[in-house]
């Protein structure tokens, strides 16, 4: 799955009866991936296809455990058939401020994904979904890799992913962390 752009849009339909539907677009508005998640699935399994015909799988995000309290999610590039890394939710920390870790193929943390500030995170938890979320991704040396911004829209969940040109973390993992934020954290709101 080639990810050469620096800007992506993750779109999740809010008014879906069962399960969740995601679209991922590149910076030019071209559809990059589509996912229709089944409802009542205990073990999270997010499969991204090239389009809505769901014939060509591009990316797979799969939970290692059933309960997603502090779960790790393996990220696989379905086109090459290789695992590119994983994303791990920091369960206790995320209660107050959404926090994730991006891991390499050997499970070594290479970056962290964190909600912009503790103050804003607290306000969002008090006021519901009225204040859109923002996240920063920084690598283990502290260099910023990407910004993730949720656009306020009561009908469609939209998250903009802006990857810095000098980012060293695999773009697939940055995009996967955005998808997981939209799928897992978005569901809790």
């Amino acid at each position: 799955m080639s990810l050469d752009d620096n800007r992506y849009l993750i779109r999740r339909k809010v008014l879906t009866v069962l399960g969740q539907k995601f679209h991922v677009y590149d910076g030019h508005g071209k559809l990059l991936g589509f996912s229709a998640q089944k409802a009542f699935k205990l073990k999270e399994d997010i499969r991204f296809y090239a389009d809505e015909t769901m014939t060509r799988e591009r990316m797979l995000i799969q939970a290692r455990q059933i309960i997603d309290w502090a779960a790790s999610y393996d990220v696989i590039d379905s086109e090459s058939g290789e695992k590119i890394g994983a994303c791990r939710r920091k369960g206790w920390t995320s209660m107050m401020r959404d926090s994730w870790e991006i891991l390499d193929i050997n499970d070594i943390p290479v970056a962290k994904v964190q909600e912009d500030s503790m103050l804003m995170a607290t306000l969002r938890r008090l006021l519901g979904g009225w204040i859109p979320q923002k996240f920063h991704i920084t690598c283990s040396t502290g260099i910023k890799q990407a910004d993730l911004r949720v656009r306020f829209n009561p009908f469609v969940y939209k998250m903009e992913v802006d990857i810095l040109p000098e980012a060293t973390v695999h773009r697939g993992l940055i995009l996967a962390s955005g998808i997981l934020l939209a799928a897992i954290e978005g569901r809790q709101q």
Partner: protein, 93 residues
């Protein structure tokens, strides 16, 4: 120095056997032989076992209650209904 626990994995693509870290249990890792992603066995989630026992126990208890208070037909309905629910849950996992 004690070594970290490992799990034996058989690659589903090239069938090579190798060892993966215990933390990857239930997940996916790249095979050192062919480089392709392959599942790591062992769903070590303790809650999974508790849920399995609780669901099977609940099914048996409900069927027994149906038998005692409603007779054979109630027990049959609860047994078949419970089997369907358990089947759906199994598929969803």
């Amino acid at each position: 120095m004690p070594s970290s626990p490992v799990i034996g994995v058989d690659c589903q693509h090239c069938l090579k056997s190798f060892e993966a870290a215990d933390s990857l249990a239930g997940g996916i890792t790249n095979c050192p032989g062919c480089g392709k992603a392959t599942p790591v066995p062992g769903l070590r989630d303790p809650l999974f076992r508790v849920m399995q026992v609780a669901m099977l126990g609940g099914w048996a208890v409900l069927t027994a209650i149906g038998w005692v208070y409603g007779g054979a037909l109630a027990a049959l309905v609860l047994a078949v209904g419970g089997a369907l629910v358990l089947g759906l849950l199994y598929i969803s996992m």
